[in-house]
Symmetry: C2
Subunit: 149 residues, 2 copies
């Protein structure tokens, strides 16, 4: 029976596709929930806001690192968040190349308003997955991630 090898190759062929498809759908879904809630921010803007929420101000470099976005992308997302008055850029007194990016009060309020929407969306996304399945999924995805470093 010569089907073992072809089957393996076939799996590798579709897995990348399934991965991308799911990630895309997830993004679409969260984006749709934000639109529905009239959140007036995108999911990527949300990711940046949430990164800032931990407390202290952060450089754009640090934001890029934590969100896995690149520097130009962070620049533009921050431009939009600044327009919406959700963040400010302050000059860093110790390094004049840098900004310290901070949430405004308005930005903190936005997070408070939107968090329930995000939590609800997460519930739906992971519905029916056991605890153990979740950690298996994360473990396998991390393995792939490490393979591509």
């Amino acid at each position: 029976m010569p089907s073992a090898l072809p089957k393996l190759a076939k799996t590798a062929e579709v897995s990348g596709f399934i991965l991308e498809r799911t990630a895309k759908r997830m993004k679409q879904f969260f984006h749709a929930q934000l639109t529905l809630a009239a959140a007036d921010i995108t999911i990527d803007q949300w990711i940046v806001l949430q990164t800032l929420e931990s407390g202290s101000a952060q450089s754009q470099y640090e934001i890029a690192r934590q969100t896995f976005k690149d520097a130009p992308t962070v620049t533009r997302i921050l431009d939009l968040l600044e327009q919406k008055k959700l963040i400010t850029r302050e000059d860093d007194p110790n390094d004049r190349r840098r900004y310290n990016v901070r949430l405004t009060i308005h930005g903190r309020q936005k997070i408070k308003d939107i968090l329930p929407v995000i939590k609800q969306a997460r519930l739906q996304a992971w519905h029916g997955l056991e605890d153990e399945e979740m950690s298996t999924l994360v473990r396998l995805l991390d393995k792939v991630y490490d393979n591509l470093k």
Copy 2:
């Protein structure tokens, strides 16, 4: 011990992030491999080419459905592939709204040239994952995908 519930919430919080991170890295990696091989196409253009490879000409609607891209995205990717003379759009004699999209000889050659690069990249991406792990991953991703329909 009150850690069971928080741990669950925490997992749901990071899983979407891990999923997106891995999908993004995968895309970056394949894109980098194509660039390295001077393939002169992007990964999304590759996905469309590969969809066309099965043989018969296809409508843009069909390409969109199979690749999970939307119609405008397919239109623009095909514009680029047409510029590069890798595909042609022929009028469909039975339905004047449609095009039959076909690979050119040049397009078929491009696939032949690039396939080894893609196969090698797949090997690296899925390195160290058992057969069973692969199918588990696909099963779990599909479950999430279905949750978001």
